[in-house]
C-alpha cells in the first residue's frame, strides 16, 4: 500500500506534507491540485513531516491537498528510441506534448511503446549473465543499440529463454532469466534506473589514454581533452561559451552526444532543435540529430527540475557507455544547477556556505564529474563518457564557489577571457590560463606521438612558450614604448600574434575554418613554428609589424580555403616566397 499524506505548508515550490506511513529520502510523490497531479521529490524528513520540492508551480495549492508517495526515486527510462529525442529535465518527451504552452502536470512517456524494433539476439540459452551484459541488439538509426540485463539486477543469472530475431516493441518480453534460487525474471527492451545513482556493471575504470578530437584548434592543439575525460568552460556572458559548446557538439569525435541545456536560454535550444536535424556529422556523414539526445530545462522552466536534468542526462550517457560506445555529455550551464541547489537550500533555511550556496556544493560537483570516465566491460569492450560543463561565474570573477569547486573536479580548464572577446578574438579561450592535465599523462603523450607527430607535444609546448613570451614582451612594449625596446621584442610579440591569429582564432561561422581535422592542425602548427624559428632582420619595428601582418593575412586566407586545394596551395606558395625572400 502506498504512503499518503496531506499538504500542511507551502513556500514557493517547497511543500510540507504530513504523512501517514514510511517515506524515503528522494522518493517521488504526486500532489493532487484540483485534479492535476504535480510531481515532487522528498528532500528532507522530520518526524511525520516530509519536505518535498515540487517540479512545477505551486500556484493555487492549499493546505489539505492530498499527496500519494510512489515508493521509487526519480528514474530515467532507458531503451531504444532515446536518440533524436528531446526531453525536459524529468525526461518528459517535449515533442509529444500538446499545444504551444507547457501545461502543468502534463507528463509524457519518454519512449514510443508502439514502435517495432528489429531485434537480434546475442546471448544464448544457458549463458551465465549479470547486470549490464548484452542480451541482444536493435538498430537505433544506424547505431547498434544493445539490450542489456537491467542494471538493477543483482547477482548472477542464467538465460532460460530468449526470443528469436524479429520485430518487437519495447515492452515485449525478449528474455527470461533465472537467478540462483531458480526464480524467473522477465527482461524487456526497456529498464529504469534512479538518476542520482551512478551506473556500475563494468570491470574497471582505467585512466583515459586517447584524445577526443573536436576540430577546434585551441582545444585539440593546445589543450586536448581525453576520451572519458572531464573539462569545463568558465566565462563571463558574451565570451562565446555557447558557440564553443555547440562547435564541440557538432564536431566532437563521439558516437553519442547528449546535450543538457540546464537553466539557459530557450532560443539556444531552438537552434539545436532546428539545426541539428540538418547538420551532417563530419565523422560519419549521417545527420547529427541521429546521434543526439537533448535534455532541455530552460531558465523559465521549473527550477527544481534543473537539478534533475543534469542527472537524467548523465544516466542516459552511462546507459550508452555500457553498450561500448563513446559518449560525450555537454552541460550548459552547471552554474544554473548550483543556483537551483542554492534556492532550495535557502528555502529549507539551511546554514549557507560561501555566496549563500549550500556547504556541500563542492562534494556534489565532484561526485558528478566522477561519473565521467572510460570503462572496461565484462565482454572486453570499452565505453566512455566524456563530460564538458560550462560555468557562468557571477561578474566574470573566477574566484566564486562554483568555478572553484569545478576546478578541483575537472581535468581540463578552458578559461574564456573578456579581454579576448572584447577584441573579437574568438574562440576567446585564454591560451595562458587554460590547461589540460591530460598533456601530463604519459599514455596520452604516447598516443599523440603515434596519432599526430613524433615531436607533437614538444611543438605544442614551444607554441605555448612563444605565446607566453609574446604576452610578456607586449607588456614591456606598453610600458617602455615602441622605440624603448629592441626590435627583437617586436619580432617576439608578432610571432605570438601569428600563432594567435592563425592557430588560436577560428571562425565558427565559416564552413571550412570551423572544423580543422588533426592532420590540418599539425600542418598549420608546423608551418607557423617554422616561421617562428626563423630570425628576421628588420630596419624598424614598423617593418616588422607590416611583414607579420602580411604573413598573417595570407595564412588566414589559407584557413578559409579547402585543405591542400589549389587555392590553399597558392597561398602556401606565397608564404614560402616571403620566407625565402628574407
Amino acid at each position: 500500500m502506498k504512503t499518503t499524506g496531506i499538504v500542511t505548508g507551502i513556500t514557493s515550490n517547497l511543500v510540507t506534507v504530513q504523512v501517514n506511513g514510511p517515506v524515503a529520502q528522494n522518493e517521488i510523490c504526486y500532489i493532487d491540485l484540483a485534479g492535476t497531479n504535480l510531481m515532487a521529490e522528498v528532500i528532507k524528513v522530520t518526524g511525520d513531516k516530509a519536505f518535498v520540492q515540487v517540479y512545477e508551480s505551486t500556484r493555487g495549492m492549499k493546505k489539505g491537498d492530498k499527496v500519494v508517495f510512489e515508493g521509487f526515486m526519480l528514474e530515467a527510462t532507458l531503451g531504444p528510441g532515446l536518440l533524436s529525442s528531446s526531453y525536459d529535465g524529468l525526461q518528459n518527451n517535449l515533442e509529444t506534448m500538446e499545444g504551444v504552452f507547457l501545461k502543468r502536470g502534463e507528463y509524457t512517456a519518454p519512449l514510443d511503446d508502439e514502435k517495432l524494433w528489429d531485434f537480434t539476439p546475442i546471448a544464448k540459452v544457458g549463458d551465465q549473465v549479470c547486470a549490464s551484459d548484452w542480451l541482444g541488439e536493435v538498430k537505433e538509426g544506424w547505431l547498434p543499440h544493445k539490450i542489456m540485463v537491467p542494471f538493477a539486477f543483482e547477482g548472477e543469472y542464467v538465460v532460460k529463454s530468449i526470443v528469436e530475431a524479429g520485430q518487437y516493441k519495447i515492452n515485449d518480453t525478449i528474455a527470461i532469466l533465472t537467478d540462483e534460487n531458480n526464480e524467473e525474471k522477465v527482461v524487456t527492451m526497456v529498464q529504469k534506473w534512479p538518476v542520482k545513482v551512478s551506473v556500475g556493471g563494468y570491470v574497471e575504470k582505467p585512466r583515459p589514454s586517447k584524445i577526443m578530437e573536436t576540430g577546434v584548434r585551441c582545444i585539440d592543439t593546445l589543450n586536448p581533452i581525453a576520451e572519458g575525460g572531464t573539462g569545463f568552460i568558465p566565462g563571463p556572458f558574451g565570451c562565446g561559451k555557447t558557440v564553443l559548446q555547440h562547435a564541440i557538439a557538432q564536431q566532437g569525435d563521439a558516437e553519442i552526444i547528449v546535450m543538457a541545456a540546464c537553466g539557459e536560454r530557450a532560443n539556444e535550444v531552438v537552434e539545436i532543435f532546428k539545426e541539428f536535424p540538418e547538420l551532417v556529422d563530419p565523422h560519419t556523414g549521417r545527420k547529427l540529430m541521429e546521434r543526439t539526445t537533448i535534455i532541455c530545462n530552460t531558465s523559465n522552466m521549473p527550477v527544481a527540475a534543473r537539478e534533475a536534468s543534469v542527472y537524467t542526462a548523465m544516466t542516459i550517457c552511462e546507459y550508452y557507455r555500457q553498450m561500448g560506445m563513446k559518449v560525450l555529455l555537454l552541460a550548459d550551464s552547471t552554474s544554473r544547477w548550483a543556483q537551483a541547489l542554492r534556492e532550495m537550500s535557502n528555502r529549507m533555511e539551511e546554514l549557507p556556505g560561501a555566496d549563500a550556496f549550500p556547504v556541500d556544493l563542492s562534494a556534489i560537483i565532484s561526485n558528478f564529474y566522477a561519473r565521467a570516465g572510460v570503462v572496461k566491460l565484462r565482454n572486453g569492450s570499452t565505453g566512455s563518457v566524456t563530460f564538458i560543463g560550462t560555468v557562468s561565474p557571477a561578474g566574470g570573477n573566477l574566484k566564486e564557489p562554483v568555478t572553484e569547486s569545478t576546478k578541483k573536479a575537472a581535468r581540463c580548464f578552458y578559461a574564456l577571457a573578456q579581454a579576448r572577446a572584447d577584441k573579437k578574438r574568438y574562440p576567446a579561450v585564454d591560451p595562458v590560463d587554460s590547461y589540460s592535465k591530460y598533456l601530463e599523462y604519459p599514455e596520452i603523450v604516447e598516443y599523440l606521438q603515434n596519432r599526430v607527430d613524433k615531436d607533437w607535444v614538444n611543438k605544442v609546448n614551444r607554441a605555448k612558450t612563444i605565446i607566453r613570451r609574446g604576452k610578456e614582451v607586449y607588456e614591456q612594449i606598453n610600458i617602455l614604448g615602441d622605440d624603448g625596446v629592441p626590435i627583437s621584442y617586436h619580432e617576439m610579440y608578432w610571432k605570438s600574434e601569428l600563432i594567435d591569429f592563425v592557430i588560436l582564432q577560428q571562425d565558427a561561422f565559416d564552413p571550412i575554418d570551423s572544423v580543422t581535422p588533426m592532420d590540418r592542425q599539425e600542418f598549420m602548427l608546423s608551418l607557423v613554428l617554422n616561421i617562428c624559428d626563423k630570425s628576421f632582420t628588420f630596419e624598424t619595428f614598423e617593418d616588422c609589424s607590416a611583414k607579420f601582418k602580411e604573413i598573417i593575412n595570407i595564412m588566414r586566407q589559407m584557413n578559409y580555403s579547402e585543405f591542400k586545394s589549389e587555392q590553399f596551395n597558392k597561398y602556401f606558395e606565397q608564404v614560402n616566397k616571403i620566407l625565402s625572400d628574407e
Binding site: G9, K62, S86, F101, V270, M301, E343, N346, F509, Y560
Partner: protein, 438 residues
C-alpha cells in the same frame, strides 16, 4: 464578484513592514486578497497560518484589519480593447477610459514548450548603425540597454520602438519618473502610434513592490496579441534594475538569506521568467523584449546586470564617447547573440567580416590612445587608427545615426579604404575586390 461570496477575516496574528500573517483556512498559494482595502498576495502557508505580502506596505494596518480573499491569483482581462490604453500595475485603467472587458487571464502563465518554438529569423531594422551593423536585432529576441542613469536610454528605446516594424508596442514602466511617463506618452501620441500601444506604468510616486506585477501584466497582454492574434509584439521594460530592487526589498522583509550584492538567491530565475517570454511562435506571432538595466557607474559585475547578461540575448551598452562628444553604442561591450541568424542571410554577404574588421580596427585605435596617453610616439598605423576611430564613432556608432544597412556597409568600406590598405583588413579577398572604394 461581490464581497458576500468571499472569505473575510478580521484578526491578524503578526505584521511586518511588508507582510501580514493570519489564521485562515482554504487560502491557496499565490492568490490575491485585500488587507484593510490594500491589495496583497499569499506568499506562504504554514499549517493554519497564512502570510500575505501587502504591495503598498503595511503602514497603519491594525491587527483587526479586514482581510478578504479573492480565490484567484493576479489576472488581466485581455481583448483587442487593450490597444491604446494606459494601466497601473494591477491592470486598472489610469487614462479615465472604461474598464476593459475580455477573457480573464492569470498573469505569469506557463512557459512555451521549447520544442514548439520557432527559430527567430526576422531582422528588426532601427536605422542606428551601432545596432543594425554591429548588433543586429531579430524579432523574438530579448535584449537590454545597459546604461548609466544619466544616459538617454528611454529616448533611444522610444526611437527604436517607433522605427521597428511591429503590430503592437507594450510599455512596462517600473519606477518611471512622472516626467519620463509623460515623455513616452507624448512621443507615442505625436508619432500617431497610440492605437498600437499599451502601457502598464508604475511611477516613482507609487509603492515599489507594486512594480513586481508590471512585467507579468505587460507580457500577459503581449502573449494575447502574439499567441492568440499572431501579431508581432515589441515589449519595452524600463527600468529592470528598479524591478530587481523591489525583489530585494521583498526577500529582505521575508528574512531570506541574501546572495551576491544583497540580491535574493533566486534573482536569476526571477529575471529569466520574464525575459524568456520573448519568443517566435510557429504561427507567425512574436514577442520581442527590449529592456533597460541601469548601471552604477558602468559596473556590469553587479548582480543585476550580471544575471541579466546571462539571460538575455546580448546587451546594448550606451557610452559617452569623449573624443566625439556623442553617445554611442559601445562596440566592445555590446552584443546581439541572435545577429548570426540574419547577418549574411538577410543582409549583404560582406556584413559579418565588415562588422568584425570595423570593431577590430576601433580596438586598435583604443590601444593607440593608451599609448598616446602614456606619452609614447605613435606609429603611422596608430595615427590612421585614431583618425578612423573618430569618423567611425561619429558616422556609425553614434545613436543619432539613421541610415539603411547598405549605407552602413558602404560607409564602413569607405572608411576602410580611406585609412587602411587591403592587407591590414584581413578580409576575404573576394569581398575586398568587390567592395573596396578607390
Amino acid at each position: 464578484m461581490s464581497k458576500a461570496f468571499k472569505k473575510i477575516y478580521t484578526k491578524l496574528e503578526s505584521i511586518t513592514k511588508a507582510t501580514v500573517s493570519l489564521k485562515a483556512s482554504g487560502a491557496t498559494n499565490d492568490e490575491l486578497a485585500t488587507v484593510d482595502n490594500r491589495l496583497a498576495q499569499v506568499v506562504k502557508i504554514k499549517d493554519d497560518l497564512v502570510t500575505l505580502q501587502v504591495f503598498v506596505g503595511t503602514e497603519g494596518i491594525p491587527t483587526n484589519a479586514e482581510v478578504v480573499f479573492f480565490g484567484e491569483p493576479p489576472a488581466l482581462n485581455v481583448s483587442d480593447d487593450l490597444a491604446g490604453r494606459f494601466f497601473n500595475a494591477y491592470g486598472e485603467p489610469i487614462d479615465n477610459g472604461p474598464k476593459v472587458e475580455g477573457e480573464r487571464r492569470y498573469i505569469g502563465g506557463p512557459s512555451v514548450n521549447p520544442y514548439k518554438r520557432e527559430q527567430p529569423s526576422q531582422l528588426i531594422p532601427t536605422g542606428i548603425a551601432g545596432i543594425d551593423l554591429n548588433n543586429t536585432l531579430v524579432s523574438g529576441q530579448k535584449i537590454p540597454f545597459f546604461a548609466d542613469p544619466d544616459q538617454p536610454y528611454n529616448q533611444v528605446m522610444a526611437q527604436v520602438a517607433l522605427r521597428a516594424d511591429v503590430d503592437k508596442i507594450i510599455l512596462g514602466g517600473m519606477g518611471l519618473t512622472n516626467d519620463d511617463y509623460l515623455y513616452f506618452k507624448s512621443v507615442f501620441e505625436s508619432a500617431g502610434a497610440l492605437n498600437k500601444i499599451i502601457s502598464f506604468v508604475n511611477t516613482t510616486e507609487q509603492p515599489p513592490v507594486e512594480r513586481l506585477l508590471i512585467p507579468d501584466m505587460a507580457l500577459t497582454a503581449a502573449e494575447y496579441f502574439a499567441a492568440d492574434k499572431n501579431e508581432k509584439v515589441l515589449v519595452l521594460l524600463t527600468d529592470m534594475t528598479l524591478y530587481a530592487d523591489a525583489l530585494c526589498i521583498v526577500s529582505n522583509r521575508m528574512d531570506q538569506i541574501p546572495s551576491k550584492d544583497s540580491m535574493p538567491g533566486s534573482l536569476y530565475s526571477d529575471l529569466a521568467k520574464i525575459y524568456e517570454k520573448a519568443v517566435q511562435f510557429p504561427a507567425g506571432g512574436s514577442i520581442t523584449i527590449i529592456a533597460v538595466t541601469t548601471l552604477n557607474d558602468g559596473d556590469i559585475t553587479h548582480a543585476i546586470p550580471d544575471n541579466t547578461g546571462y539571460i538575455t540575448e546580448g546587451q546594448l551598452f550606451l557610452r559617452n564617447d569623449t573624443d566625439t562628444g556623442k553617445v554611442i553604442i559601445d562596440p566592445f561591450r555590446s552584443l546581439s547573440r541572435l545577429k548570426q541568424l540574419v547577418i549574411g542571410k538577410q543582409t549583404r554577404e560582406d556584413h559579418n567580416q565588415v562588422m568584425n574588421t570595423g570593431v577590430r580596427l576601433y580596438s586598435d585605435a583604443a590601444n593607440a590612445k593608451t599609448k598616446l596617453e602614456n606619452g609614447f610616439d605613435l606609429s603611422d598605423y596608430d595615427k590612421r587608427c585614431l583618425d578612423y576611430a573618430k569618423e567611425y564613432s561619429t558616422r556609425l556608432l553614434a545613436i543619432d545615426v539613421n541610415i539603411s544597412l547598405t549605407e552602413m556597409l558602404d560607409t564602413a568600406w569607405e572608411l576602410f579604404s580611406k585609412y587602411f590598405n587591403k592587407a591590414e583588413l584581413g578580409i576575404k579577398d573576394e569581398f575586398t575586390s568587390k567592395y573596396w572604394k578607390n
